[in-house]
């Protein structure tokens, strides 16, 4: 049985340990394939995808982009919401059935900007599927930032980075199939 001093020391170890990285689902599949000598079913290369988006989505995204821009401006103006000393600004994403995510962006450092993503109410993607977070740049390029999955209970907390100089006006999450999916479903959006 551990005494209180043991527990305090474990706490101190936890306090000085950085958050673990989320393992990208695509990398996991590729690692298994590489190790087992099978042809990889997926690639870990980050894809930049151009989509034909439906009209309703383009209208909604314009409104959402405006809302997100206002939200970012408000958060910047009031100096953040206390999500840690490194947080520069935060954005919220929401989806059907109460699914939501909060993304805390840190100040840019070493060429990257770290984000801490808190997801709630999003059921696990299921076998053969994963979630992917995207950003749209001012040039209307869709840039994949990170892949992840949620635990039982629909929650996930993980860190990822985007290039420090990357500007974007819209962020969303899709549910994707390992090996590719022609029409990924959008599950969260700003």
């Amino acid at each position: 049985m551990s005494d209180d001093r043991d527990l305090e020391r474990v706490e101190r170890m936890l306090q000085r340990t950085p958050a673990p990285e989320s393992v990208p689902a695509m990398a996991a599949a590729a690692a298994r394939s590489a190790a087992l000598g099978e042809p990889p079913t997926t690639t870990v290369t980050r894809a930049k995808r151009s989509w034909r988006l439906p009209v309703w989505w383009r209208v909604a995204s314009t409104a959402a982009a405006f809302g997100a821009a206002v939200a970012v401006a408000v958060v910047l103006a009031i100096g953040g919401r206390g999500g840690g000393p490194a947080t520069q600004f935060s954005v919220s994403l929401s989806g059907p059935h109460g699914a939501a995510a909060e993304v805390d962006f840190s100040h840019a450092s070493n060429g990257v900007r770290q984000m801490v993503v808190h997801v709630n109410g999003l059921p696990p993607a299921g076998a053969g599927h994963y979630y992917e977070m995207w950003f749209r740049t001012p040039g209307n390029e869709n840039v994949s930032a990170v892949t992840f999955d949620t635990a039982t209970g629909g929650r996930a907390t993980f860190k990822a980075v985007i290039p420090a100089g990357m500007t974007w006006h819209h962020c969303w999450v899709t549910r994707e199939a390992v090996g590719g999916e022609a029409t990924p479903s959008m599950v969260l959006t700003t």
């Binding site: 049985m1 551990s2 043991d6 527990l7 020391r9 474990v10 706490e11 170890m13 936890l14 306090q15 000085r16 340990t17 950085p18 958050a19 673990p20 990285e21 989320s22 393992v23 990208p24 990398a27 996991a28 590729a30 690692a31 298994r32 590489a34 190790a35 087992l36 870990v44 980050r46 999500g83 840690g84 070493n110 060429g111 990257v112 801490v116 808190h118 709630n120 990170v146 635990a151 039982t152 209970g153 929650r155 907390t157 990822a160 980075v161 985007i162 290039p163 420090a164 100089g165």
Partner: protein
């Protein structure tokens, strides 16, 4: 993704450091059993279990060394491929499976960082390097690796509380609110998790 240049760090570390690594407690089979099954029987199921146990700690380690998540994906993949190929080189008597896998992942990351060191043209200013000494850096990486393994081995409901408290910086009252649990339950789960982790991190506890 942006590629961040990384300074190469010497790899040399005394092998005895790995043999002192405590084994993370799992339900049977142990990591050592699994690794031996991979070596002896080329057991893909055993390898998949090892992957489940170690993927996050290995990936976090290589990203921490490389400071580049994108390259880290490739290096973690290569590290697991090396585990599969080199499993026969593991001998239980020389130390834990965790230590052996840590060494493989760290070496893969350092090899990758060396390959990415940019060619220096001209004379560098003579300034002290502010980064930690190689040994101190390796010990810190080892501790983080072990803490991540210990956290990953917790039951889901305890792991969730620990991650929110220590990796997301939430107060216990905020965790209670987010998980819709009584504050007392959060405190109980936190204490239970710390108690479960203490023996896994016994050697560091004594430091």
């Amino acid at each position: 993704m942006t590629v961040v240049s990384v300074t190469a760090a010497p790899r040399a570390l005394a092998p005895r450091r790995w043999s002192s690594l405590a084994v993370v407690v799992h339900e049977s089979p142990t990591d050592e059993d699994l690794l031996e099954r991979v070596a002896r029987d080329r057991d893909e199921g055993a390898f998949a279990t090892l992957y489940e146990r170690y993927s996050r700690a290995v990936f976090s380690l290589v990203v921490r060394i490389l400071r580049d998540r994108h390259t880290g994906e490739d290096v973690a993949q290569e590290a697991f491929a090396a585990v599969w190929r080199a499993a026969a080189g593991y001998h239980r008597g020389r130390g834990s499976a965790a230590g052996w896998m840590f060494a493989i992942a760290r070496n893969a990351a350092i090899d990758a960082s060396r390959a990415r060191v940019p060619l220096v043209v001209g004379e560098l200013p003579d300034r002290p390097d502010p980064s930690p000494l190689p040994d101190a850096q390796a010990i810190s990486e080892l501790e983080a690796f072990r803490v991540h393994l210990a956290v990953d081995s917790l039951p889901d409901r305890e792991r969730e509380v620990i991650e929110l408290a220590y990796f997301s910086g939430l107060a216990q009252s905020e965790i209670a609110e987010q998980l819709e649990l009584p504050l007392g339950t959060v405190k109980t789960r936190t204490r239970s998790a710390l108690q479960r982790m203490a023996p896994m991190l016994r050697e560091e506890v004594g430091r």
